[in-house]
Amino acid sequence: MNPKRKQRLMVVLFLLAGAGATVALTLLALNENLNLFYPPDQIVSGEAPTQTRIRAGGMVMAGSVARQANGLDVSFVLTDYEGSDFEVRYSGILPDLFREGQGILVQGQLGSDGVFKADEVLAKHDENYMPPELADMHRPAAPGGDAE
């Protein structure tokens, strides 16, 4: 092989290796940071996985918000008003639009005890309206819709 060809081969090999590594890393990163959404009934029924980062949502049940006397620990119950509710624990500042009766999303891990440990609480910017992710929850079996 003449040196010119050899160099070209090296470049091609290098590019292939680079492309392979990029694709592999991308897929890995994508997989690890994929947060699936689960409505309350799936959380309660145990369909949602534990020990992995997921998203959940529901309405904050009236009277369920309890702040600890010290620190910023807070717990509240999310419900779909159809009999499925679960407890969420969070430590930190709640968003401006967080209030009882409001639909919110939480991100974090579901413990094996059924308590959701949130590291992020998101409230939508529209006060009297439900986030689409939650609105979907009530669609009675839309064609190909959510697993009920």
């Binding site: 309405m59 779909d80 008003y81 159809e82 009766g101 639909g103 529209d126 006060e127 009297n128 309206y129 439900m130 689409p132 609105a135 009530h138 669609r139 009675p140």
Partner: protein, 178 residues
Amino acid sequence: MSRASLFIPISVFALIIGVGWIGFSLNDPHELPSALLGKPFPDFEAPRLHEPDQRVSRDDLLGEPVLVNVWATWCPTCAAEHDELLRIRDETGLRIVGVNYKDDAAKARRWLEAYGNPYDLIIQDPDGSLGVELGVYGAPESFLLDRAGTIVYKRVGDINPRIWRDELRPALMQVMDG
């Protein structure tokens, strides 16, 4: 490089558009409140909630100003606005028509017994088809119609005393005058 490779970009684009299209059709975002303003309330035919064998149509909404309220038992904000609807009906006599949206009829009837019924007439819309016509994406939503059945005001979200005072009542006054 072969000639065919020049068509790789357009293939990638077609793929992206395909995905975008499916995602778009799944997401049907709610319409702007203004989209239906000034348009006639759509034609429809549907059963009544309490007397399912009776059918109602657009004609049943004509003759006097009417507030069409889209609600459901699964919707917490609907419960929140319920007292205000009762108050409006009692204090002003405004005719309120309910559209029971994507709901279970039996559940809805029980719910009304428990909380009171502000509606003069309730339309059943179990599969949300009237909702689609109205561009409803969630509940509650409300439409004020004039005597001729034209939508003059639309509210996405709850009816509360502030909305009544600042928006709904002024709109109603206009309808009465005009």
